[in-house]
């Protein structure tokens, strides 16, 4: 899991580094600081399981095995992007990897994930669908409609809510009353668990239980994972100077960097060495470098194709 988190971190930091070159001409929503959720969940999944994601989809996509070059090419608007350049960073998907889709409208992918689970149930497949959602999407009615149906039909689906405390610049407390947030899961009859979203093992343990429940026909779960977005809502920069959140809060969460937390643990256990980590990082840096080179070398989509494929 450390590997996967490091790989995502390296990829996203490189995106941030290069963003000012203005070659990636689309909005980007980085997951830096939130990698443990995607990785912890993905490690509980199997081939054939599906995930759906949101505007902030890079980590989910990569953790599930989405093609790195196709993702970067999509950000660069290239023909070889996963959407052939048509979607941009908020539409990542990878059919081979089980990344069904990502959607930029808050809440929109939630029912789609439930629909994937319905398909599994109808086809009596042993698979599970995972829905990544942000804390703000709990405010959207469509979450509740989806949760109700998932519970009603005992669908093999897991709602993974990443509570990073903000919707853009608006704090959770300015959008939702103060009460136990997991109640929004259990009120619908979902198996609801609250966990530390920066602890990849905790995430993985909870996900494994939820996956197991889903595969055994025990129905859907709701995992509430507390975490924190380090950079600005949209774009490559830090924005703590804006004043919508305090530097103290940011530092509190950065001290709980999910990667550092795991590294410390593994180092102290002797499961990895500093050198291993350096080697991993170096490996990922060159992988990302190579992926960027490939993506940048790829052609832009041919404008004559722009009107193709409106209908199947």
């Amino acid at each position: 899991m450390l590997r996967d988190m490091l790989r995502i971190r390296v990829a996203e930091e490189e995106i941030a580094n290069r963003y000012s070159q203005q070659k990636m001409r689309c909005p980007v929503h980085l997951s830096i600081g939130q990698e443990a959720v995607a990785v912890g969940v993905s490690h509980a999944l199997q081939d054939g399981d599906q995930i759906v994601s949101t505007h902030r989809c890079h980590a989910h996509y990569l953790a599930k095995g989405g093609n790195l070059t196709a993702m970067l090419a999509e950000l660069l608007g290239k023909e070889t992007g996963c959407c052939g350049g048509r979607g941009g960073s908020m539409h990542l998907f990878d059919l081979a990897a089980g990344v069904l889709l990502s959607l930029p409208i808050v809440g929109a992918s939630i029912p789609v994930g439930v629909g994937a689970a319905l398909a599994f149930q109808q086809e009596q497949k042993p698979n599970v669908a995972v829905i990544y959602l942000g804390d703000a999407s709990l405010e959207e009615g469509v979450y509740h409609e989806s949760a109700n149906f998932a519970a009603l039909k005992k669908l093999p689906v897991i709602f993974v809510c990443e509570n990073n405390l903000y919707s853009v610049y608006t704090a959770l407390k300015d959008r939702q009353p103060s009460r136990v947030l997991t109640d929004l899961g259990s009120a619908h009859g979902l198996h609801a668990v609250h966990l530390d979203g920066n602890d990849v093992r905790a995430v993985n343990d909870a996900a494994a239980i939820a996956v197991n429940r889903a595969r055994s026909g025990d129905g859907p779960s709701f995992l509430l994972a507390d975490t924190y977005r380090w950079r600005e809502h949209c774009g490559p920069n830090y924005d703590n100077t804006l004043g919508y959140r305090t530097v103290a809060e940011f530092e509190h969460w950065r001290a709980r960097d999910p990667i550092a937390v795991l590294q410390r643990e593994l180092l102290s256990l002797g499961d990895v060495t500093e050198r291993d980590i350096e080697a991993m990082l170096a490996g990922f840096r060159s992988e990302v470098e190579a992926a960027f080179s490939a993506a940048e070398a790829a052609p832009m989509p041919n404008p004559v194709t722009v009107a193709r494929g409106i209908y199947a």
Binding site: A108, G115, A116, S146
Partner: protein, 360 residues
């Protein structure tokens, strides 16, 4: 050739659903009431008994979420057939239909397909009022990536519904409630129709009339009354609003030089606007007179019978429009109007026209 019997459009829908569920194992029906004793005005009756609750899925009252769920299942290869008892309820799920369903194929560069049919029923009559009788076809026809079907005959209800279900795109299937009662010859067995263009339903060289859904009946009635007075209309049942294929209609206007378009919904920004605009663009020189559009006036549907009576255009309005374009004599106009009024047999305007029972 399978044999044709005379059945209602409602029965034709039910037959199509039955055949589709049988033919496409990945298909399923979902909607509020699909498995209840009402069975969506009888169009789904008996299906749950035959195919079980996992193929005929009763749903919570949650149009937006369930639309997204249907879409998700479609992306995974299922073939959902959703039903809402009124078009009006679908206003809740437009985000999913317009963003997720309509765009997935295009956005993923062809990788995703959304083989989904959405049956939407247009209410009318018995004081349905402002929020239970909207037609709203423009909303759907405006969105690239959707297909929009508006059948009028029982054979089309069956064939186009089968075609919609077999289609790998999201198809909006707009059913005028009153058309469910209409009877016509419908072939037995599975025979999906292509989701193609309009169909000529009355021949003539004097004027071109384009109508869709329920207005097709009014147009046919007007055309028959006009024909016996020497004015011959080329009448088209539009059938598909998106994609909109106007070649045949344009060819007709090139002959007649005159055009009347009859919308089932509001006239302003109705499909008639697009049809007139395209015809003007493509057959300007052939037009002898300004085309005329008919449609609902620019306000909500009033509930009271006294107000509904002046809300809905009918064959008399079509006769008036044609009369103006073709310079009919006063006597012919009066008697043609009388003929169509008589056909209605004095049945109040808030009940289905018994003379429209068919078969035609």
């Amino acid at each position: 050739m399978p044999e044709a019997r005379v059945i209602t459009a409602g029965a034709a829908i039910r037959e199509a659903l039955d055949l589709a569920l049988d033919k496409h194992p990945e298909s399923y029906v979902m909607g509020e009431g699909v498995a209840d004793p009402g069975g969506i005005f009888g169009t789904t009756t008996g299906l749950v008994e035959k195919y079980g609750a996992s193929r005929v899925v009763e749903m919570p009252v949650a149009e937006n979420g369930l639309t997204g769920i249907a879409i998700g299942s479609a992306l995974m290869g299922r073939r959902p057939i959703m039903t809402h008892q009124r078009v009006d309820f679908a206003l809740l799920c437009l985000e999913q239909l317009f963003n997720t369903a309509a765009k997935s194929h295009y956005v993923t560069n062809g990788a995703h397909r959304v083989p989904m049919t959405v049956r939407l029923i247009i209410g009318r009559g018995w004081g349905q009022g402002p929020q239970h009788s909207q037609s709203l076809e423009t909303l759907f026809a405006y969105i690239p990536g959707l297909k929009v079907v508006m059948p009028s005959t029982p054979a089309d209800f069956k064939g186009l519904l089968l075609g919609a279900i077999a289609d790998d795109n999201p198809v909006i299937f707009l059913e005028h409630r009153w058309l469910h009662y209409v009877k016509g010859a419908v072939a037995e067995g599975y025979a999906a129709m292509a989701l193609d263009g309009p169909r000529r339903i009355h021949d003539g060289r004097d004027v071109t009339i384009v109508a869709s859904s329920y207005m097709t009946l009014e147009a046919r009635r007007a055309a028959v009354a006009l024909a016996s007075r020497g004015c011959h209309a080329d009448v088209f049942d539009l059938r598909m609003l998106r994609p909109l294929k106007l070649d045949e209609i344009i060819a007709s206007v090139r002959r007649t030089g005159k055009l009347v378009v009859c919308d089932t919904g509001w006239k302003i920004l109705g499909p008639g606007a697009e049809i007139v605009a395209q015809i003007v663009e493509q057959a300007f020189d052939a037009l002898k007179r300004a085309p005329i559009r008919l449609g609902l006036p620019d306000h909500p549907t009033p509930s009271s019978l006294a107000l509904a009576e002046v809300y809905y255009p009918d064959s008399t309005h079509i006769i008036d429009a044609v009369a103006g374009l073709c310079d009919l004599g006063e006597g012919d106009i009066t008697s043609a109007r009388q003929e169509v009024l008589d056909a209605r047999k004095g049945v109040p305007i808030d009940k289905p026209d018994p003379a429209f029972e068919g078969p035609f």
